[in-house]
């Protein structure tokens, strides 16, 4: 019912907007192509969206049919692209005179790049406001995820798949090691004390076969997010208020040493572990802790096809507490509309539906995506396993917001992130001391951001 009201409200606004547009075009003699609207049964409109291949297909087959129950004349087509190639492909498309895509699914640090080339439309601007449902509540979004879509005071994108770095732990392994379950208040010192006990030889063959932790250690652009979450928890920051590197100091080095120390309690080959390897080790019950993106919870604790664990076995919380606060790292997938599309209304209809309370609930229940709306997080979850996840998310959003726990916000953030990836990898591999790695990184990041 609320969807129907939304559609009606949208249609009234559309009518007003279209009338205004027709008057304007008549007055100016403009020949610009009109927006294709929401389509009709005879003439449906197609919205093309570039997205991460990791979830593009699932969204196509699961979410789009749900959307089409409300908007049957809008065909949404997702093009999945491997994550490492996404930014370059999106930039190339966005800067062409006639972009192929009507909307872009953007990773957390990419909004400044996309905004700088004028690729995205202002979602709170007049054009979009005219076609926005009255019930669409911007104030209902948690501040941290919503801020991911903002750049220099303009809201270019909305959170469609919120994510944060979280700590997963295996309750069975903690119990077998004779340890109490960790709490969100656990400090790094307490974590390492537990880690000693969690590395065990369970079958008595003289070799350890269960370990304390796996996470990102491999040379990868996301590996510095672990170090950064420790840095932020210790009160450090990547940049100072003038936008200059502020991590090449004792806090930064201690944080990198902490990240490196995790390797002492990781499985053999831990230095080669990234997203997939650490996830696999945890799902198979080989490691007691996993620091990874929260969105993997469903596939790690719920889907029996992909995990040996159950929701009862898997605890979820923020990363251990440093000298200042707990740790996490924001990683929101946000969606924006191409500034050059003539399918603006249909594109916004889809994004609006997807980020509405109703759409968020469907996205969470069917796909496991995390919501960004406070009302969704406060509501009764559609599935029981979502309850502890929502509690943790609320905590993590607050922690991320307080500590500024996200990647560098700059049109050149990817260059900076790659530099951090290189130097953190060298530090973790022991090829250079932490101080030297961070000193070089700071110098290069400063030049990259100029």
């Amino acid at each position: 019912m609320s969807s129907e009201i939304g559609v009606m409200a949208l249609n009234r606004k559309r009518l007003a907007a279209m009338t205004a547009a027709v008057v304007m075009m008549s007055a100016t003699g403009s020949t610009a192509q009109a927006d294709e609207g929401l389509g009709t049964a005879e003439d449906p409109v197609t919205v093309r969206i570039i997205a991460n291949e990791a979830f593009a297909n699932t969204w196509q087959t699961t979410l789009v049919p749900e959307f089409n129950k409300v908007y049957p004349h809008i065909e949404v087509v997702f093009d999945g692209v491997p994550y490492p190639d996404m930014l370059a492909k999106m930039m190339l498309d966005a800067t062409s005179p006639d972009p192929e895509y009507d909307a872009y699914l953007i990773d957390d640090p990419w909004v400044p790049q996309m905004a700088e080339v004028g690729a995205l439309i202002d979602l709170k601007g007049e054009d979009i406001a005219a076609i926005t449902d009255d019930g669409y509540d911007w104030d209902d979004f948690s501040a941290a995820p919503l801020a991911a879509g903002e750049w220099q005071g303009v809201q270019y994108a909305v959170p469609v798949r919120s994510n944060v770095l979280l700590r997963f732990y295996n309750r069975t392994l903690y119990e077998q090691a004779g340890l109490d379950e960790p709490t969100p208040e656990q400090t790094w010192d307490e974590f390492f004390a537990d880690a000693e006990a969690l590395v065990r030889d369970t079958d008595g063959d003289g070799q350890d076969d269960v370990w304390a932790i796996s996470t990102y250690f491999v040379r990868d652009s996301l590996t510095p997010t672990i170090w950064q979450s420790i840095l932020n928890a210790n009160g450090g920051n990547l940049l100072d208020e003038e936008g200059k590197p502020a991590f090449a100091n004792e806090t930064g080095a201690v944080s990198l040493e902490t990240h490196k120390r995790l390797l002492d309690y990781a499985p053999p080959g831990g230095l080669g572990h990234g997203f997939s390897e650490s996830l696999q080790a945890f799902r198979q019950g080989l490691v007691a802790n996993l620091f990874n993106w929260g969105s993997i919870y469903k596939a790690t604790a719920v889907d029996s096809a992909s995990t040996t664990l159950t929701p009862d076995e898997v605890g979820i919380q923020v990363l251990p507490v440093g000298t200042e606060n707990a740790g996490t790292h924001r990683g929101i997938w946000i969606a924006g509309i191409s500034s050059k599309t003539d399918r603006q209304e249909a594109s916004w209809a889809f994004l609006q539906w997807l980020t509405s309370r109703e759409g968020e609930a469907i996205n969470a229940a069917l796909v496991g995506s995390f919501p960004a709306r406070l009302s969704t997080l406060e509501s009764e979850p559609a599935e029981p396993w979502l309850a502890p996840v929502y509690e943790t998310l609320k905590h993590a959003y607050a922690v991320a917001g307080e500590g500024g726990m996200w990647r560098i916000r700059s049109p050149r953030s990817d260059a900076a992130q790659q530099i951090l990836a290189d130097e953190v990898a060298r530090g973790l591999a022991g090829q250079v001391e932490a101080e030297e790695a961070l000193g070089i990184a700071a110098e290069k990041v400063e030049r990259a951001l100029r």
Partner: protein, 308 residues
């Protein structure tokens, strides 16, 4: 002017027209290839050079303001560029001789007539047709210290467990093993063809003279094969210097920067950091280095051909 002169002039004119027609005909046959070459080869190279001399304009995704050699200076001052070149050199110095030696050695061993030789030769083609990314992924699984079958097997003979992706030396060894697995069969095929083409009478003469297996190999086969070995080395060099995909799929350039070959570094700088101008400068430097070294190798190949 006499009639003979006029006939001579007319003849010369006709010959000139004939030559011109012939020339036009020849060029008309070559023209499509030349146009294709310019479009597919020359244009990207010149465009890369242009980008390397400008500040890349991200808003138009094209070459922007002219900055001269600034990008080259920046690249030359970046230790990561030199590190990547050094890593690439280590890989090439170990992998290329190893693959050529193994390829010719295996070819020599399987050159004898025996049942099933054709089947074994066919098996050798398999690694070559496997996509490099797939090969890298499969080997990554096989060598994984936690789940991999290789460490499991090595355990039976008391070796390991080896940290193939965590130890810098072993990570480089991993890359060389995968690359050697992929490309040695290619060299075996070339070497087998070369061995079959060797003059049999020379070997018969060596046999009559009482040469043993080793003497035949060292004093007869290898000298005859030297030009082929040199040519194979150059062909393989041109392929190996492009090494990128196997590293991307197996070690991601790590641990640290232990396997960060130059092409992976250029790719990351361009498509992950969006530093297209600096990447173009690096690509041009690598292109020049490759051309110089290839010219030297070709010169060496010709010298060996003349000598043997």
């Amino acid at each position: 002017m006499t009639a003979t002169d006029m006939t001579g002039l007319a003849g010369r004119g006709e010959r000139r027209r004939g030559r011109l027609k012939d020339l036009i005909t020849r060029w008309s046959f070559m023209a499509p290839s030349i146009v294709l070459m310019i479009l597919l080869l020359a244009y990207p190279i010149f465009y890369t050079i242009e980008i390397s001399l400008t500040r890349f304009d991200i808003a138009t995704f094209s070459a922007g303001a002219w900055v001269g050699l600034d990008n080259y200076r920046e690249v030359m001052a970046d230790y990561r560029f030199w590190d990547s070149l050094w890593v690439t050199l280590i890989y090439l110095v170990i992998a290329l001789p190893l693959q050529v030696a193994l390829g010719f050695g295996i070819a020599f061993l399987i050159n004898a007539e025996w049942a099933g030789r054709g089947f074994i030769r066919a098996l050798f083609i398999i690694p070559m047709v496997v996509a490099p990314v797939v090969a890298g992924g499969i080997w990554r699984m096989m060598l994984d210290p936690l789940w991999g079958i290789v460490n499991h097997w090595l355990g039976f003979i008391g070796i390991g467990p080896l940290d193939w992706f965590g130890d810098p030396a072993l990570a480089m060894a991993t890359i060389i093993i995968i690359d050697t697995w992929r490309w040695t069969p290619f060299i075996v095929l070339i070497a087998t063809a070369a061995l079959l083409a060797l003059p049999k009478d020379v070997f018969e003469a060596a046999k009559i003279d009482g040469a043993n297996w080793w003497s035949t190999l060292w004093s007869v086969a290898i000298p005859l094969l030297v030009p082929v070995i040199a040519a194979t080395f150059v062909i393989r060099w041109l392929g190996a210097v492009k090494m990128f995909d196997i590293v991307l799929a197996s070690t991601y350039g790590g641990p640290g920067k232990a396997t960060n070959v130059i092409n992976l570094f250029i790719y990351e700088e361009a498509f992950r950091s969006l530093r297209f101008a600096e990447s173009a400068a690096m690509a041009v430097i690598v292109l020049v280095l490759t051309m110089v070294l290839t010219a030297l190798f070709l010169r060496g190949t010709r010298a060996l051909e003349d000598r043997y």
